[in-house]
């Protein structure tokens, strides 16, 4: 089975986000970059599928040269090789999807897997748009995946609000991973060494011949308002409890 996993590099979730007035993107200096956590579930699932059914797992990433670090991490987890679409440009989900779909199309895959969303701008669009670009069936927010290689059919459980849904679809298809799908493995130290020797093909975005005009432009970016300092209630427990109930009712308006 030939599996493609789309991996995005994002700021570590513990990053303190900084903005200067007028910025339309966050300040990136000093940021620690990691693989988008949902993409880690995607990588893990691909590796498990490969371990069961054989074949290869190819990593596809888009972004500037720093993205190579995320690619190496995915290779160290066990992916076989990688393609890095290079660009320093700020692009939207539509352009990203077009570029990724173009690369996917060139080689042809049985399965394309990615995270349900990236935790940087939280748009949750790229996976779905890639499926649209390729004209493939898709299933998003997947928490359990069963692939029948013989019949080339997929049975997936996807999470809905307060419920779950089981869908069946044929291969090739696009899958987006939700937390709970699996527990991603650590890259082992020997695999980190081995990853050094794996192929990373670098492809300039401009060479793909896709339209790179964005559909969406960020007009303005602001930080959420500072949270007011916590109130600490002192005094007798009885009094404090009364005061707490009053504040929850009148100020926080939660009871």
């Amino acid at each position: 089975m030939k599996i493609l996993v789309l991996v995005k590099q994002v700021p570590d979730t513990a990053t303190k986000i900084r903005l200067n007035p007028g910025d339309t993107a966050i300040q990136t200096d000093g940021i620690k970059w990691v693989i988008n956590p949902y993409d880690e579930f995607a990588i893990e699932e691909c590796l498990r599928l490969k371990e069961k059914a054989g074949g290869e797992v190819v990593v596809l990433s888009l972004g500037p040269s720093r993205v190579e670090e995320a690619i190496r991490q995915a290779l160290a987890m066990g992916a076989d090789r990688a393609i890095h679409v290079m660009t320093d440009a700020v692009i939207d989900s539509q352009v990203a999807a077009r570029a990724l779909a173009k690369v996917a199309q060139e080689e042809g895959y049985d399965l394309i897997v990615t995270g349900k969303q990236a935790v940087d701008d939280d748009q949750a669009q790229v996976g779905a748009l890639v499926a649209v670009e390729l004209g493939l069936p898709q299933v998003t927010v997947v928490i359990e995946l069963n692939v029948d290689v013989e019949s080339r059919r997929i049975r997936a459980e996807r999470e809905l609000e307060g419920a779950s849904e089981i869908v069946e679809l044929p291969m090739p298809a696009v899958i987006t991973a939700q937390r709970g799908l699996n527990e991603p493995r650590y890259p082992t130290l020997p695999n980190i060494m081995k990853a050094k020797k794996k192929e990373v093909k670098s492809v300039p975005l401009d060479s793909l011949g896709v339209d790179t005009t964005p559909w969406v432009r960020v007009e303005e970016l602001t930080l959420p308002p500072e949270r007011p300092a916590a109130k600490i209630l002192t005094g007798e427990p009885e009094e404090a409890a009364k005061e707490l109930a009053r504040l929850l009712h009148e100020e926080a308006k939660v009871i």
């Binding site: 650590y186 130290l189 980190i192 990853a195």
Partner: protein, 383 residues
């Protein structure tokens, strides 16, 4: 001078840090109280590749340079020292002898299984009457046909209960002093081999140190490590090699203590302000940070020299001495900055304080390191 580590090593450091945070640290209290590292954690450490740090790639290890090894050891130093001592003794004195002096047959028999962690390694030199004066060992090895028969007793052998493979020093020619000592590779399954009781220790809980008894222990002659009569020199070389790794682990522990102490000083309020605002606390932290930085560059410089093939007997002794002494000073200040909570066992600081103490004793005491340094100086200046 280029101090940057390669992307792979940075990646390995990150993987080790992740592992420590999610697997080792949550188990630290239990390891300390039960004096036992859970099997599951050893298993996970094997899977991560932590038993192959010193072993060449062709034998299934990571094939790292000394600088790179130290980078990993520094990371490992950031967690409970008892756990890291198991790995340190295995990757250091427990396997380096076979890597350095082993024949191709010995390497292919032992190293792959040691790299995977299936076989843990240990190093057995010390005896009741031979500690600092290691050349005074009395364990005998008598050749009988194609075998050597060993008789004697070793003490304080780290990893003894867990290890399968021991680098053992024994006397093959009692008339030649240090030149009559030979090193052997001994497997715990050889007839006549017995592990004694495990010692109770001030610290390093989870790491086990025990006696070994050899009663007509039979070792096949192909298990002589290096040449007959070179065991003492081999032992000194193995110990010198281990010193950079030991210092790197001490360095990691120091860094951990500085991080904890600085954060605590900024948070802990007394007299309506953080204790950090007291100049004496600032000076403690500044002294800790400066010594740690000195230790860091000393560690990597000695490791780098070793990678260049330089003779580092003097520098490795300086590093072992300085690393141990700095670790003890840093641990002492860390307890002081933490006040009462620094002495309470619910909190890790007192554990590091106890664990630090051994570094001035094992693998050559601080006094012995000074003797080595002075002997080298005499050699340099008398010439």
């Amino acid at each position: 001078m280029d101090f940057t580590l390669s992307p792979e090593i940075l990646q390995m450091k990150a993987a080790v840090r992740d592992f420590i945070t999610h697997e080792v640290e949550p188990a630290a209290r239990r390891i300390e109280e039960e004096d036992q590292v859970p099997d599951s954690l050893i298993e996970a450490s094997r899977a991560l590749g932590l038993f192959g740090i010193s072993i060449p790639e062709e034998y299934g290890g990571l094939g790292l340079s000394m600088v790179d090894k130290c980078a990993i050891f520094e990371e490992l130093g950031q967690t409970i020292n008892g756990y890291t001592t198991i790995l340190g003794a295995h990757n250091g004195i427990g396997s380096v002898g076979i890597v350095t002096f082993g024949s191709p047959e010995q390497k292919s028999r032992y190293l792959p299984r040691m790299a995977s962690g299936e076989w843990v390694g240990a190093f057995a030199l010390t005896e009741p009457e031979a500690g600092s004066n290691a050349a005074a060992i009395r364990t005998t090895a008598t050749k009988k046909g194609t075998r050597y028969v060993l008789n004697g007793q070793k003490i304080y052998i780290t990893n003894a209960p867990e290890a399968h493979v021991f680098t053992v020093m024994a006397v093959t020619d009692p008339y030649r002093g240090a030149k009559g000592i030979t090193s052997f590779i001994v497997e715990k399954t050889f007839p006549g081999f017995r592990v004694g009781t495990v010692e109770k220790k001030m610290g390093l809980h989870g790491s086990h140190t025990a006696q070994l008894y050899f009663e007509d222990l039979e070792v096949p002659e192909e298990n002589v490590l290096g040449q007959e009569g070179e065991g003492y020199v081999n032992a000194l070389k193995i110990l010198a090699n281990g010193r950079a790794g030991l210092a790197a682990r001490a360095l990691g522990s120091c860094q951990y203590l500085l991080d904890r102490s600085t954060r605590y000083a900024l948070e802990r309020q007394q007299f309506e302000k953080p204790i950090f605002e007291q100049q004496i606390i600032q000076h403690y932290l500044a002294e800790m940070a400066t010594e740690i930085e000195t230790l860091r560059w000393m560690t990597y410089r000695v490791a780098w020299m070793a990678d260049q093939g330089a003779n580092v007997i003097k520098e490795a002794a300086m590093l072992k001495l300085y690393g141990s002494e700095v670790y003890n000073r840093v641990a002492d200040k860390a307890v002081q900055i933490h006040g009462g909570i620094g002495y309470i066992a619910d909190y890790p600081i007192e554990r590091f304080y106890r664990d630090a103490r051994i570094t001035r004793i094992y693998e050559g005491t601080s006094e012995i390191q000074k003797n080595i340094i002075a002997a080298q100086l005499k050699k340099e200046y008398a010439e």
